[in-house]
């Protein structure tokens, strides 16, 4: 039971990384594609939205890693061995994205300096989630197999193949969509909000196409995954409906609802993946059970996660309330009773607006 709880915790943290950190990457993508008369204002809005929270959002990834190597050391060892190359490249992206963003904020405001850091930040925001998605795709299609501690298929072929690349692209578009929808909720002049609205709609279109192609080829390239997905059709339907709903609400400029629905659709995608893959961590060989650490470690980890959450959840709530909520002053006046406190206020739909 503890092993399943740990696996669930890893999946939830990955989901939160996608919902929060993913949107920060998406923000970088929209920085790269900022065009038109409001380009500068778009970049300013993105920076303003990301700056106070990106470092905290980024920690979800570290928590995923820590859960994996503590609770599922065998799977972790296989993962980091087989995906050494894309992981290393992704880390380069993590370093470049974070530092360039910070340097841009604190370095000279001269145009050429700003442009240089901005370019590094934006390009890294594009390829880092692509690599992350590629690796998730490799896992999903059962591309990580170890024989005698060596990856079957070598260190390149498994992840440089059509299905992982499709999932990588889908991840970039998904993060871009999330970011665009979130950004419509940021205080900004109307022309800027409209620009993000157009970007949300465009990326939603790209996502439908890419998603359909990925599902279509999954039957042949990742058959176990495809079969698993249809084992829980309700999640697929909920994901599809919330995505459609999100697009519709963006269209109608009801951005608060759009944000909640967009987050819900991503939750369905990642939750659906988890359900489809159960009981495997790294199909087709490593399951939750056969790669799990001894019971005592799992039990302690679950307790550490529970106790950690007691400090983490209110802290995160405070952070998002200060920067994304309306009333920033008291951290204690309204303790959140809901079960979704772990999710960002981003999904609670309280629209900041420019009021």
């Amino acid at each position: 039971m503890y092993a399943n709880l740990c696996a669930l915790a890893a999946l939830v943290c990955l989901l939160l990384y996608a919902l929060l950190g993913g949107a920060d990457y998406g923000g970088g993508v929209w920085d790269l594609f900022a065009r038109g008369p409001t380009a500068k204002a778009q970049r300013a809005t993105i920076e303003h939205a990301i700056a106070p929270v990106w470092e905290a959002n980024h920690v979800w990834l570290i928590v995923v890693v820590v859960i994996l190597f503590t609770a599922f050391p065998a799977a972790f060892a296989a993962l980091v061995t087989a995906l050494h190359v894309p992981l290393t490249l992704m880390l380069v992206g993590v370093v470049l994205r974070g530092t360039a963003f910070t340097f841009r904020h604190y370095d000279s405001k001269r145009d050429d300096v700003q442009k240089r850091w901005g370019r590094v930040f934006a390009v890294a925001s594009l390829f880092t989630p692509f690599l992350l998605g590629t690796m998730l795709g490799t896992i999903a299609m059962g591309g990580i197999r170890m024989v005698d501690d060596l990856p079957v298929g070598g260190f390149f072929a498994p992840w440089i193949s059509p299905f992982p690349i499709l999932v990588g692209l889908l991840t970039v578009v998904l993060f871009g969509f999330l970011a665009a929808v979130y950004l419509t909720n940021e205080p900004a002049e109307e022309a800027v909000t409209e620009a993000f609205r157009r970007r949300a709609l465009a990326s939603a279109g790209a996502m439908f196409v890419l998603g359909a192609v990925t599902l279509a080829v999954a039957k042949s390239l990742a058959p176990a995954m495809a079969e698993g997905l249809f084992r829980a059709p309700i999640v697929l339907v909920a994901g599809g409906l919330s995505l459609v709903g999100s697009v519709a609400t963006v269209w109608k400029r009801r951005y608060g609802a759009a944000r909640a629905l967009a987050a819900l659709s991503v939750t369905c995608v990642i939750g659906g993946w988890g359900i489809a893959q159960r009981p495997y961590l790294l199909p087709p060989d490593l399951t939750i059970a056969n790669s799990a650490a001894p019971e005592v470690t799992l039990r302690l980890l679950v307790w550490a996660l529970v106790i950690g959450s007691v400090t983490l959840v209110p802290s995160l709530y405070y952070l998002f309330r200060v920067f994304k909520g309306e009333d920033a002053l008291s951290p204690l006046d309204r303790p959140d009773p809901g079960t979704t406190t772990e999710a960002p206020p981003a999904v609670k739909g309280s629209r900041t607006g420019s009021s």
Partner: protein
């Protein structure tokens, strides 16, 4: 080829740690300095303290970001480079890493509030956020160092064949190295950050003449550096005694003690000759090593001759140890100088030589920090888990490890230059350097108590 890959894996890990540690110590001690300055601002309403808080906060923001991303790299690198190690050790020392994860999470959250929330939260919440950053930064260092202490003095499991069994993560955290490593590291963090920050302000004072801003900054920085430098002596002694008890080979390498003998001398300096098994040109204090290690001059100290030649750590351990102790001793002298003058004259020395000494102490204490980690980590070799698991047996089967090594080395060199350039620009814009008004002159909302 395999030997090369092992060396490049170790090189990449060493380089990543050496890079990260500088930013990590800043992340521990800078929040303390910021909070001290901000509390003084709130109590005295002396503008200098506010300017100082803001200037330090900007520097901290840059350094923390670099520390956060290089720390992320490390959390993966342990597995990327040494997957077999993580496979076995993960369940044993995952606990301190998990706790560190939460501490770091808290630090990142409240640093965001601290840096960007000036006008969004009440002053008291702002200071409180800074206090939380300082506490959680310290805690995350505590947990990470406990994990390292375990690698040096592993506890909480048994080896059966090639498996770790009877795992007890709590016992693992109780490793006998935890206490001294944690204390030594935290004191180093305050000492290094204090002297490094002090060195910057001292350099400006030396060049531009008296300035209340830089003098106040130097006084605050010195107030955390000096006591840490003084305490580091006894804590270092405690550390050496633990090493003597649990890692005799490391102690022998630190002191270049080749022969097993009673009345072993304490060596100052010297050049170990591994072929001849003697240490040349060292100043020797008879019986000193025996006494410092075991409190008795006639105690027997094990020499390197007790251990297989192929297992001897590199002589760099000896040189690093000498450098660390030498710099630490000078830092204690500098600390005493400042403290004595301060007590007698109610102010730090203002002369050029004191400023010059502080300027030298900045970079030198960074050297001592790096040297200390070389002693701990290179001195632990050839083991990744001391006495249990050899580093060479845990390296990833991935060939061509020169490539990631070269990649990260170049990336970190570029990053070091970029960070220095950004900080340099910030320092140039601090009060009294470019003869312009402080950049943060007008922010009335803080004075007014926030937007309530």
């Amino acid at each position: 080829m395999r030997e090369h890959d092992i060396l490049f894996a170790r090189g990449q890990m060493a380089m990543s740690l050496a890079f990260h540690i500088v930013f990590a110590v800043v992340g521990i001690a800078m929040p303390v300095l910021m909070v001290m300055a901000e509390v003084l601002w709130l109590r005295t309403r002396n503008r200098v303290y506010l300017d100082l808080t803001r200037a330090w906060a900007k520097g901290t923001a840059v350094l923390f970001a670099v520390g956060a991303v290089s720390g992320t790299v490390l959390s993966f690198e342990l597995g990327l480079l040494f997957p077999t190690f993580m496979k076995h050790a993960g369940p044993v020392i995952g606990m301190p890493f998990s706790l560190e994860g939460f501490a770091f999470f808290t630090e990142a959250i409240f640093l965001g509030i601290y840096l960007y929330g000036w006008n969004r939260v009440r002053p008291v919440w702002h200071v409180a956020s800074g206090v939380v950053v300082a506490i959680s930064g310290t805690l995350s260092a505590v947990f990470v160092v406990i994990a390292n202490a375990w690698m040096n003095a592993p506890r909480g499991f048994r080896v059966e064949g090639d498996r770790f069994v009877d795992i007890d993560p709590i016992a693992a955290m109780g490793t006998p190295f935890a206490v001294h490593e944690v204390l030594h590291m935290l004191l180093a963090a305050f000492m290094v950050t204090g002297f490094a920050v002090g060195a910057i302000h001292a350099a400006i004072l030396l060049k531009r003449g008296p300035s209340p801003f830089h003098r106040t900054a130097l006084a605050l920085a010195f107030s955390i550096a000096a006591p840490s430098a003084l305490l580091q002596g006894p804590v270092g002694h405690l550390a050496a005694q633990e090493v003597a008890e649990h890692q005799p080979m490391k102690l022998a390498a630190m002191e270049s003690q080749f022969k097993t003998e009673a009345y072993a001398p304490l060596r100052i300096g010297g050049f170990p000759d591994e072929e001849a098994r003697v240490t040349r040109l060292a100043i020797e204090i008879p019986g000193g090593l025996s006494f410092l290690s075991f409190n008795r001059r006639d105690a027997v100290v094990k020499g390197l001759e007790e251990f297989p030649r192929r297992d001897w750590p590199s002589p760099i351990v000896h040189y690093s140890f000498q450098a660390m102790v030498g710099i630490g001793t000078m830092a204690m002298g500098l600390a005493l100088w400042g403290i004595v003058v301060r007590i007698r004259k109610k102010a730090l020395p203002e002369g050029k030589w004191f400023l010059r000494a502080i300027i030298a102490a900045g970079p030198l204490s960074v050297v001592a920090l790096e040297a200390g980690w070389v002693v701990t980590e290179v001195g632990r070799q050839p083991w990744i888990v001391y006495g249990v698991m050899r580093t060479a047996d845990t390296v990833t089967p991935m060939p061509g490890l020169f490539v990631p090594f070269a990649c990260f080395t170049l990336l970190y060199i570029a990053l070091a230059f970029a960070t220095a350039a950004v900080l340099w620009r910030q320092i140039r814009h601090s009060p009294g350097v470019l003869d312009e008004a402080p950049a943060s002159a007008a922010r009335p909302s803080i004075v007014a108590g926030g937007p309530s």
